[in-house]
């Protein structure tokens, strides 16, 4: 269970998060949507203990962030940064395997796990030997997902993890992730701009706007019982494909 209580955060006197409350029960997937600059990434970084915040509590299973060492905390959480955040000086494989190595995993165990994840994200084996600067945007993003999943953490924080993927890989990866989350009972907090993705993966959705929570609820709530006109506007803005019938 992941809990965020009354989080406040300012950057140089500008309030970026104001009284954010969030509760993701164990095994649940929660989506965070909202306008650009509304504080989604900042919220994930706070949850990870990477940046200080002004007020509030972050808890896992009732234990506060501060009662863990940074390493213990990080070991509980898998993280996909918004830009992938691969280390530039090591290969994709080493990016994925780094922590496992440091935790003393054997080589065969690591290789097995990497292979398993590689299949899930549908990446060519050969690409794992490359350095980040030699990969395409979507390839880097998939490696970042592999890295986050490597240690099989109980909690996962994903910051627009599939934004750079083509529809085909994206939808199959969404399928995979959904089944993994359910099968392994992961607690997941997912930031996405793709409402379809949010609805497909998450039971609950929280909409953020200018650092404040506008509404939390299932998709149906947002659609049918919007807390403000902005919610409706936001949902309707998603551009859909024209139907076959509308096309010459």
């Amino acid at each position: 269970m992941l809990e965020l209580q009354n989080i406040y955060k300012t950057f140089e006197d500008r309030a970026v998060l104001v009284d954010v409350n969030l509760m993701v029960p164990k095994g649940a997937t929660h989506a965070l949507i909202g306008s650009s600059g509304s504080g989604k990434t900042t919220l994930l970084r706070i949850t990870l203990g990477l940046i200080p915040f002004d007020k509030g509590y972050v808890k896992i299973n009732g234990h506060a962030l501060l009662s863990f060492t940074p390493v213990e905390w990080a070991d509980r959480i898998g993280y996909v940064p918004q830009d992938g955040g691969l280390f530039p000086h090591i290969t994709a494989r080493n990016n994925v395997a780094l922590i496992a190595k440091l935790r003393g995993w054997g080589k065969s165990k690591i290789d097995e796990r990497v292979e398993e994840l590689r299949k899930i994200v549908d990446l060519d084996a050969e690409i794992l030997g490359r350095f980040p600067r030699e990969m395409s945007g979507g390839q880097k993003q998939r490696v970042a997902i592999m890295r986050a999943a490597m240690m099989d953490p109980a909690v996962m924080l994903l910051d627009e993890p599939m934004a750079a993927l083509d529809p085909l890989i994206r939808s199959s990866l969404q399928q995979e992730l959904k089944s993994i989350f359910q099968r392994l009972n992961k607690t997941v907090l997912l930031v996405t701009h793709d409402l379809g993705e949010a609805v497909f993966l998450a039971e609950q959705i929280t909409m953020l706007h200018e650092g404040r929570m506008v509404q939390t609820g299932a998709y149906g709530d947002l659609l049918l019982r919007p807390a403000s006109p902005f919610v409706t506007q936001f949902i309707n803005a998603q551009r859909t494909l024209p139907d076959a019938g509308d096309v010459r």
Partner: protein
Amino acid sequence: MKRALRAMSRMMKGMASVRANSGACAVTIMLTVLLPGAAPAGDSIVIGGKIFTEAYVLGEIAAQTVEASSTVPVTRKLGMGSTGILFEALKSGAIDVYSDYTGTLAEAILKKPDLKSLDEIRAALGALDLTISGSLGFNDTYALAVKESFAEQHQLHTIGDLIPIQSGVRAAFSYEFMDRKDGYPGLVNNYHLAFDTQKVSRMEHSLSFQAIDQNAVDLIDVYSTDAKIKKLHLRLLKDDHNYFPVYQAVWVASKSFVAEHPREWQALLALEGRISETAMLDMNAQADIQKIPFNKIAAQFLGSEARNSEGWWQEVGRRTREHLWLVGVSLLFSVLVGIPLGIAAVRFHATGQAILLSSAIIQTVPSLALLCFLIPVFGVGTKPALAALCLYSLLPVVLNTFTGIRAVNPIHLENARAFGLNRRQVLFRVVLPLASPTLLAGIKTATIVSIGTATLAALVGAGGYGAPIVSGLALNDVHTILTGAIPAALMALVAHGIFELLGVVLIPAGLRRRS
């Protein structure tokens, strides 16, 4: 230009003649750890020696004697800095035998100047696991000298013989001799001499030889085996009262050497009493005046063939090893100390400023002054040179470490923490690899500056390429200068190449450019 060269040569000589400097005492912690006297002894017998003519000759004699009596290879470590250094080297097993004088042993090592007899001194050294041979046959102490012609004229053989002519003798004595209780004042007392004080002058030691040669004076003080005695045809007056302190030449050895190599030690002991004052004086003169190589002199004395004189390649090889040792240790120091300091400078703001400042300030102490200041602490030889090199190599490494680390994009540090790397792991897996190009450039600068600065080490007798450069400058001999300068430049070339390779090995492939 010529004058500058001559002045430098004088300077070198001044420094090389710092003879029995106690030194090697108040060693700072870090440096003692790093500087184990010299390279370790290994499986050969190591003959040590101090840095003046007589010590070279005796060292060569010892080495050839052992070589003749043994199959164990012999290593020569002649020209080491000071009594203190040799003593430490002996204790640590870095050398096995060297030559010294009873008076020096009593004063500088045992700190009991009133120990006079060989047996007393040997007993006292026993407590330190050292032993000495009997006298090699000569006593290198103060003596009074007159010109042969003058001696003939006045029938002078002993100091006492001066009494009849005492009021007419023009004497020139060195400042040291005039001032030491066991010098002039005691001498006059002991022999009841009454010189005309108007005719006794104080003079720089080297000038007094000139003065007696030009008949400006009749009597001077000398060391009894000084080569100039022979050159200027002087006669030593016998000290028949045994007034002057005794400086008998002896072999000094560690007990473990005596125990493990009894045959070789016996061979050395066989030289006891065999080297007379005249013989020693002769050999010193051959070295200083005729410029005969030490090994030839020793071989001639021992009646054997000289082993082949050290060839050009051998000399360059030895200089290279010495130079590498200097540069290597300071490089190690700059890596082991400079990088951590640079890291600390990033982590703690105030401390960081202090570290950066101190390494900057060290750099402003000019090298000659630094060497001069380090001599009282470390003695002469490799240690002060290493200390100076280590201190100088800090700034580039500290500053580039600091800069390199600060330039690492903080997003990588944040990600590393997010993935559960601890501080150490962040440092070694992310920060240092990402900063490695800048870091390596700092170490490279330090190394190459060291290769250059290490040539100054010759000024304190630490050898290396500086030795030929310094003596070449002294002799105004370009060929000799190049014997040191070209290998130094080549070493810089090789260092450059090695750092290119190190770059390939140490800089993570992901950061390198394919060009």
